[in-house]
């Protein structure tokens, strides 16, 4: 039908095409926004604040903050070199290394928890060696950090790797011509240029570590003050009292939101372009 063809043709040529982008985008945005709005609405309206000062809530918040901070530090210190090597070097077995780095992301967190337990638990495959060194990992805060790092570090490595890979190789040549050595090249040129990607990777890793639940519950266990992070406290608080769970959820949303704001401000404040 030539008339129908003309109509479709006009559709594609006109600005109505924009609407075919806007509507699905709006649907997704609403999916993200409505639950958060509902949570804040209900939390604010129900007189949440007495619950926020409960010792179990403070304890879970403090534990979540410091374990995720340690986890992110470990991630940055070990993940940046790994991302750099993956982005700019070729070596045998590189494909396998990339596969291993991507695996924790696609693994369901409960599977990750079981795997960590089987590996590093007291009766685990490698646990025997740790026992010899008098190190027992499960049920400790260290286990929380390990579980968080396991699930969140790959997100950082992926983002940082893209950042390093995007740098024009000619800049490296130019730097050598100017007389820089490898460390100066890395520190003053490559690192700042990949800075935005590293920052976004840090955000991803930190928020993922804060929200980690399945692997933590299975590997580290659940004990107030030692391994009971915010997500665990919310899950258990849900049964005792919906109000406690709402208070905790509200705090977690708030903390994550502030984290994102701080990092976005950092991103804008620094001039990453040389």
């Amino acid at each position: 039908m030539p008339k129908l063809r003309q109509v479709i043709h006009h559709l594609y040529m006109s600005q109505y095409l924009e609407w075919t982008f806007v509507l699905p985008s709006l649907a997704l945005l609403l999916l993200f926004a409505l639950p958060i709005i509902a949570l804040i609405w209900r939390a604010g309206g129900d007189g949440l604040f007495p619950y926020i000062t409960q010792p179990s809530v403070i304890s879970a918040l403090r534990l979540s903050l410091w374990t995720s901070a340690v986890s992110v530090c470990i991630t940055i210190l070990t993940g940046t070199p790994l991302a750099f090597v993956l982005a700019r070097r070729k070596f045998t077995g590189k494909n396998w290394v990339e596969l291993i780095v991507d695996l924790p992301v696609v693994l369901p967190p409960s599977v990750a928890g079981i795997a960590l337990l089987i590996a590093f638990g007291r009766e685990g495959v490698f646990g025997g060696w740790l026992s010899v060194m008098k190190i027992s990992v499960p049920f400790t805060s260290a286990a929380v950090v390990i579980a968080q790092t396991f699930v969140s570090a790959p997100l950082f490595v992926r983002a940082a790797r893209i950042g390093f890979a995007e740098i024009d190789p000619q800049l490296r040549e130019a730097a050598y011509v100017e007389g820089s050595n490898e460390w100066q090249l890395f520190r003053h040129i490559l690192l700042p240029l990949a800075g935005r990607a590293i920052l976004s990777g840090t955000v991803l890793a930190w928020t993922r570590a804060l929200g980690e639940f399945g692997a933590t519950l299975l590997f580290a266990g659940n004990l107030e003050g030692i391994t009971q992070t915010m997500p665990l406290a919310i899950y258990l608080g849900f049964e005792q009292s919906l109000n406690i769970a709402l208070a905790l959820s509200f705090i977690l949303v708030l903390v994550t939101f502030m984290l994102l704001l701080v990092i976005r401000w950092l991103d804008k404040a620094k001039d990453w372009r040389m």
């Binding site: 594609y12 638990g121 009766e123 004990l223 258990l236």
Partner: protein, 277 residues
């Protein structure tokens, strides 16, 4: 002409999408290949984690007796299930491991009138890993400093019962009044349901745990220490058809089966104590 080719390609794409959408909706609505005598129905049963084995058997028996009916289970800590039902989960039957998680539903009028019954009782037992790494030989050893004890969270029925049993022991001079405090200081994790306690002790990650006797018999390689009846806690399990059950008649039938001699025999096979009617 360029625009003509573009339109040809996009109209092909358009019709392709239409055909795909039609296929998907056609597949969704197609009739089943085998004819069933009655309309297929699904009964949703929310049950405490400790009932996993026994209710699995009972579910199969109910399906065999009612052609076209599928019984779907959700096993978890009773406290989780209770919260889900309060928040509107579409369950037909709820079997809890204690009344603490059934009473709120009764007061919120979520339980169908006249269908709330005790259907089994259960007892507690101490479980140890097969290798018994901490060399636990008696109940008193639970207070040994440095022992890794795994309990369920106090909000979980078995966690609550375990703490009651420890208090009972503390009231006896053979254990001492500080027994419960010392034992609770050894807790390294509060799990969200009884099966997680079993798993962690079975793996050897914990030195001991307190669970139901039914869980111990379901996992035979665990070593056990029984708790004498004067300290032990009898766990009463209530079952109820729910007021907002989508399949009220099937729900009542399921509860009736659980209370019948066949249902009680199935539960007894798994180590539960049947209720004397």
């Amino acid at each position: 002409m360029d625009i003509g080719i573009e339109v040809k390609r996009s109209s092909f794409l358009f019709s392709f999408v239409l055909i795909l959408a039609w296929l998907l909706t056609a597949c969704g609505g197609s009739a089943p290949v085998t004819q069933v005598p009655s309309t297929p129905r699904t009964l949703t049963v929310y049950a405490a984690a400790s009932l996993t084995g026994a209710f699995g058997d009972i579910g199969k028996a109910v399906e065999a007796a009612n052609p076209g009916v599928t019984v779907k289970f959700s096993f978890a800590g009773s406290q989780i299930l209770r919260t889900q039902i309060e928040q509107g989960a579409p369950a037909d039957v709820f079997a809890s491991a204690d009344y603490t998680n059934m009473d709120p539903l009764v007061s919120e009028n979520l339980v169908a009138a006249g269908v709330l019954k005790d259907f089994v009782t259960n007892l507690l037992i101490v479980i140890l890993p097969p290798q018994n790494p901490a060399n636990v030989q008696s109940l008193q050893d639970l207070a040994k400093p440095g022992l890794k004890l795994i309990l369920a969270d106090p909000s979980v029925p078995v966690g609550k019962y375990a703490r009651q049993a420890l208090t009972n022991m503390s009231n006896d001079p053979t254990f001492g009044t500080d027994f419960s405090t010392k034992v609770l200081a050894n807790v390294v994790s509060n799990e969200t349901d009884v099966k997680q306690v079993v798993s962690k002790v079975d793996l050897g990650e914990g030195d001991a745990g307190i669970v139901y006797v039914t869980d111990a018999s379901a996992t035979p390689d665990l070593k056990t220490i029984s708790i004498p009846s004067n300290y032990n806690v009898i766990a009463h399990y209530p079952i109820a058809a729910l007021a907002k059950a989508p399949n009220a008649d099937l729900a009542a039938a399921f509860v009736a089966y659980v209370l019948s001699s066949d249902g009680q025999a199935a539960l007894k096979k798994w180590g539960f104590t049947p209720v004397s009617q």
